[in-house]
């Protein structure tokens, strides 16, 4: 966990908390890391996943598509305590992917004619306008997998896949938390979603430590 430092850019897989890596997030909270620049699809819920980083005021800036399910993010934004950069969801996914696959940017027409185009360069291709969207990478990427082998090959759990394979490629250092860690050779190469070459560290997951919003108290 020596990679975590104040002010770091941190990218997390997950969507509405599902697929946020719980054990790694707990470690970041315990180490009292602050001033994080968080790149994630959303800010989850106040006590779920990356939402806890927001609630405990560890985040300086967020790049996301949605913060609506975590009122604390909105409150901190209104108070000027946190900076939020919004990207349309599909564009955000492609920006993370672009960073992860080593591209210099992507051309997207989503958001043309809306405030989502503000501050972005317009590029015309064969007479059609596109926005130049810049790639995203991070000092540290954190992901949650169902299974990992010792080389770092990853398999995800149903819709917990979401942004995780994209985020796994976009970290300078990528740390995967897995529910199950198996020997090299135990995963069928056909089922591997993220090739282990993108993953630097694997840690065993202690499992989700929060209640989901749909669970009855």
């Amino acid at each position: 966990m020596a990679y975590f430092r104040d002010g770091m850019t941190l990218m997390a897989g997950g969507f509405g908390g599902v697929g946020n890596p719980p054990t790694i997030i707990d470690a970041i909270l315990e180490k009292e890391i602050k001033d994080i620049e968080l790149i994630c699809n959303d800010t989850a819920f106040p006590d779920i996943g990356v939402g806890r980083l927001i609630t405990q005021r560890r985040v300086r800036k967020v790049i996301a598509s949605h913060i609506g399910s975590n009122p604390n993010a909105g409150i901190q934004m209104t108070a000027g305590d946190i900076e939020i950069e919004f990207s349309p969801q599909g564009t955000l996914a492609e920006r993370v992917r672009a960073g992860g696959v080593g591209l210099g940017g992507i051309l997207v027409d989503v958001g043309l004619g809306t405030i989502a185009e503000e501050g972005k360069e317009k590029i015309w291709v064969d007479g059609q306008p596109f926005l130049l969207e810049k790639p995203l990478t991070a000092e540290v990427s954190i992901v949650h997998a169902k299974k990992a082998d010792a080389y770092g090959n990853l398999v995800f759990d149903t819709s917990a896949r979401n942004f995780n394979p994209l985020v796994a490629m976009a970290g300078n250092i990528t740390i995967a938390e897995a529910d199950e860690i198996v020997e090299v050779g135990d995963l069928d190469p056909e089922e591997i979603v993220t090739p282990g070459v993108f993953v630097d560290w694997i840690i065993p997951s202690k499992g989700v430590t929060w209640k989901w919003v749909w669970e009855k108290p």
Partner: protein
């Protein structure tokens, strides 16, 4: 307005929206009233429900106690999957959207204009939840259906001549379904197609800021 009545209105709107669903469609349902539409899709037709977090072909809510917390819709609530379903990452979810493979999306609205402009993700300085996938969906789905209350909580028409809020997408909406009426965006303007009981044409015209084209025939629901 009592809570019971509000719930009932939401169900009525969802039920009408489900009539737009055709066999074989690939559909994305937004959060709120759109989510309820799934309950009213006729059992004898097969559709593929699409979720931004990477599912094509999800099904109803599982029984209590049988949830897989990792298998959720884009709103974070547990779902099941249907035969033929697939999982993929969110970049593929939006590849489906941008590539024109999404037959229909049903979305909520803050304002819709008579030209089909949609505003549904930001009230500057007041409510700034972020656009999520709304811009991608509104701009790229083949058919965009908006489901919404006809008027806001202050009684102000949400169906307007021109949106005052920042747009989600321009000229994207095909059909508007409210608790009072069904309206179609056409090249000539906004056409009143159906009116919901107990409203009269006069009451709907009066409570709609947008200019409505009133055809000779209007269906009553």
């Amino acid at each position: 307005m009592g809570l019971g009545e509000t719930v009932d209105i939401r169900q009525t709107i969802a039920k009408r929206a489900a009539q737009e669903v055709r066999d074989g469609m690939v559909i994305n349902l937004g959060i709120g009233i759109p989510t309820l539409v799934a309950d009213y899709i006729p059992k004898d037709i097969q559709v593929f429900l699409h979720a931004e977090n990477g599912i094509l072909g999800f099904g109803p809510t599982p029984p209590v106690g049988e949830e897989n917390p990792m298998l959720c819709n884009a709103g974070g609530f547990p779902v099941t999957i249907q035969p033929g379903a697939s999982y993929f990452d969110s970049s593929i979810a939006f590849a489906i959207t941008r590539r024109g493979k999404l037959d229909m999306t049903i979305l909520g609205a803050l304002e819709v204009s008579q030209e089909g402009d949609l505003a549904n993700w930001i009230v500057p300085g007041k409510r700034v939840p972020g656009m999520g996938g709304a811009i991608d969906l509104a701009q790229k789905a083949k058919k965009v259906v908006v489901v919404t209350n006809h008027c806001d909580k202050k009684g102000k028409s949400k169906i307007v001549q021109s949106c005052s809020l920042p747009l989600t997408a321009k000229a994207c909406v095909d059909l508007i379904i409210t608790d009072r009426a069904v309206m179609e965006v056409s090249p000539k303007g906004l056409v009143l197609k159906e009116i919901m009981e107990p409203y009269t044409i006069e009451q709907i015209v009066e409570s709609t800021e947008a200019k409505l084209i009133i055809p000779d025939r209007i269906r009553r629901i």
